[in-house]
Amino acid sequence: MLILIPLIGAIITLFMGGSKQKYAKYVAAVFTLITLVLTLFMMVNYFEDYSVLGENYAWIQTSLIQISFALEVDGLSILMVFLTALLSLLVVIFSVHDADEDRPNYFHALVLAMEVGLMGVYLAADYFLFYVMWEVTLIPMYFMISWYGGPRRHYAAIKFFIYTHVASLVMLIGIFAMGFQAGTMNGGVVDFSFATINSLMPMTSEAFQALVFALLFFGFAVKMPAVPFHTWLPDAHTEAPTGGSVLLAGVMLKMGSYGIIRVCLEALPLGAEYWQWVIIGIAILSMIYGAYGCIAQTDLKKMVAFSSISHMGMVMLGIGCLTEAGIMFAIFQMFAHGLITGILFMVCGMTGHKVGTREIPLLGGLAGKMPMYALFMMIGFMASLGLPGLVGFWGEFPLIFAFYEFLVEQDLLWMILFCLLSLMLTAGYYLWAMQRTLFGPETTKIDLTHAHDVSKCEGIALAVLVALVAVFGVWPDAALQFIEPYTEWIIGVI
């Protein structure tokens, strides 16, 4: 149902060309809103008894291969589903003015198509469907970048498209391997459903799991993206339109970490143990490398893109601990980062849109001219650097604590220094960027006469996110309660 609604919406808006294209945004808004309402309804339902909700239809049934159209929501996916529905709606609201310029019906159709794919990824309970949806997200994003993107959009779009496609194909090999292995164990019928594979895979040998884990992990790590597989991200973000960036960073990157938990951990616990130190190494590398990358950037949006790398590294760190707390707060950090990057990319998009450039050296003193803009930017940056009281802190503090606990067991306490360094750097680059863009003397290098403050629709979209950032910042348990049953279960698997 959650997939169907945006799909219908996408098709309708797609055909709203010509004179009707003005209304495309309302249609898109209505459909995303319906989806969000349904999601909330589902969350309430879930909240009542924490049971896994799902539906299952037979799809491709051959003598050898069984593929079903199975959807499922549990503690891992429910927040992601919520995030998808929310950000899609907000992107539509936020882009009301931006998208009016060039074929708004296509833009909104793409947003809705993205929503279809993303929902599909998070809801799928069958590897075939999962992979299908995984790839479905690529195409709208490709178009979004190359239609509505910046000057180097062609390069960025094709790089994004092919790089992530290669990764997903490698992942596909892993999926095949799991499917057939499960098939043999299951009496010759290759059933691609999560239930079958995830229950059979943990019984396989460590060598097999390690191999398959490597394949799958590569696919997910590119998506996350983890250093050194990240280079598509800064380019894609720099060129993507605001709405695209929000969805890309807010929800799409989470597909990677979601996959790691859902597939790699659930199905291949021995593989995870085998590669644990590699995961942690990559995670730490991402965190620090991403943070340093941020310092070096002059493009505001590119900086935020690198910060995503850094923060997703933190998610991976949580996963790498393979402890209940680690995974729990990795999921929470995914959620938190989704909300925060929403704000960040909207703000960065506004910078380019309203001021005309995102080059930090050209900016300065914008706070005087655009106070609301400055306020949102500051909240976003503060949340992202882990200021307590905002949601980012709960993705950071307990997560690093989980890592600390892990290190205590391993007797490798000094490694916590990496995390601390990354925290320090994070604060550094955000503050430095703020100093140079918002504060100081008003820039004379560019013409600011046409720079307007946040418009009403943009304000609404941002305010919703800010409110959520604050609410979950004060009351993290609201989100944790959804996650908890899941982590309790998965730790049993591991």
């Binding site: 491709i60 075939f128 178009f143 496609h165 090999i173 095949f176 043999t184």
Partner: protein
Amino acid sequence: MDMTTIFGDYTAFAPMLILMVSALLLPGVQMLTKRRTVTWAFAFVMTIVAMAVNIIMLTGDFTGSSLGLVEYDGFTGLMNALFLAVLFLAVLVSNASVETTRLHVGAYYALMIGATVGMMFVASSSDLLTIFVGVELTSISSYALVALKRNDARSAEAAVKYVIIGGMSTALTLYGISMLYGLTGTTVIADIANNLTEMNWMVAIAFISMIAGYGFKIAAGPFHMWAPDVYEGAATPVSMFLATGSKKMGLAVFIQIFMVLFAAGTTCADIIGEEVQYLFAIIAAITMTVGNIVAIAQNNIKRMLAYSSIAQAGYILIILAVMNEYALTAGLFHMITHVFMKGGAFLIVGALICVGLGEKISDYKGLAKRAPFLAFAMMLFLFSLAGIPPLAGFTSKFFLFSSAIGGVDGVTSQWVWLAFVAILNSAISLYYYARVVKAMYIEKGTTTEKVKIPAAFMVAIVICVLAVIVLGIFPDAVFELCEGAAAVVMG
């Protein structure tokens, strides 16, 4: 309806018979009526009749043989259906395409139908002799088809190349068959399989010659060099016919010969089964890699599609490396989806040639504005070829590549590298497909004038679009047919 009541002992022949008769009649029809539309209508109707007969036989699970020459079973039926579908698409648009309407239409349809008969003949054979004759029938007809654009120099050049390479391949094939015959004393494939007892140089030359000869038909590397030139030179419906039909015939030959020769338990399989598998794996890897990499460098869309078919043939060759029932099923399924996606792409190119658009990729700039549906359909076909879900190309590749990883007996690590090669290739292919999509959707064209294409093309393209989507999302029914066919071949 029981076909045996109508065709009697010739039932296994039935679809071929209908087409053969109509092929013989067609030049006469043209001469008598002098109206190309009537000729077309006759060819079209006969195609549909043959198709209907075949479908009835196929769905009725008919099996049988006629004259000890042809056999009809699930596999034959499926391949026949495939060839007839190709013929159907080609004939459907031929009356609308400027490239084909000015030809001698009687001969044109007769040749096309003749070529199809050859293909079907191959699919029903179990003897090297009949296979040889069938392949030659198709080959010679298609030489003529390519050359039929009599006033087009490029067509003539293509035909010269085609006939020379084709002749050489025939010679190689024949030489290989003669060796095999000498070694085993028979041309019946199933007998060869058990008469071959040792491996030596002669066996090697025999097999390689045959692989080369028929590899020519499917344009497997390194025997693929003719394909881009010929596809570029021929009329687009003919290119489409060759790329989808003739190529599948080559694959059918490979399946008929090698899958039987190396079926489990034959002495042939015992002595060189694995070696041949490796050989095919290498050929498959070369084919797909060359096809994809060179396709990147192309600016002519027909050449690009030609290289992409080379690559697709490479993917399908995976089945001969893996050589199990599941792989064969997947391969057959991919052959079917390939007909629609590659056929559809060629059809769009042909349709656009009709309205005066060039063959260069740069001519497609801004097509999305000029012909939204065509551009969308083209995008679907190309993405399907690239294997993007949820289109048919993805589903079939999903099965095909998965067969390299494992099968009923679980994971076989032997061919994982091949799957890797295939998958990397698949990613490379996305690059050049995306170039076309980019030209259509993202770059601005010089004009925004709307494009209107002939209705017949539209119908054909819609059929392909539907097939690409439906086969992608609901592959069950067709996949089952493939399973049945594969089961027949593998015994």
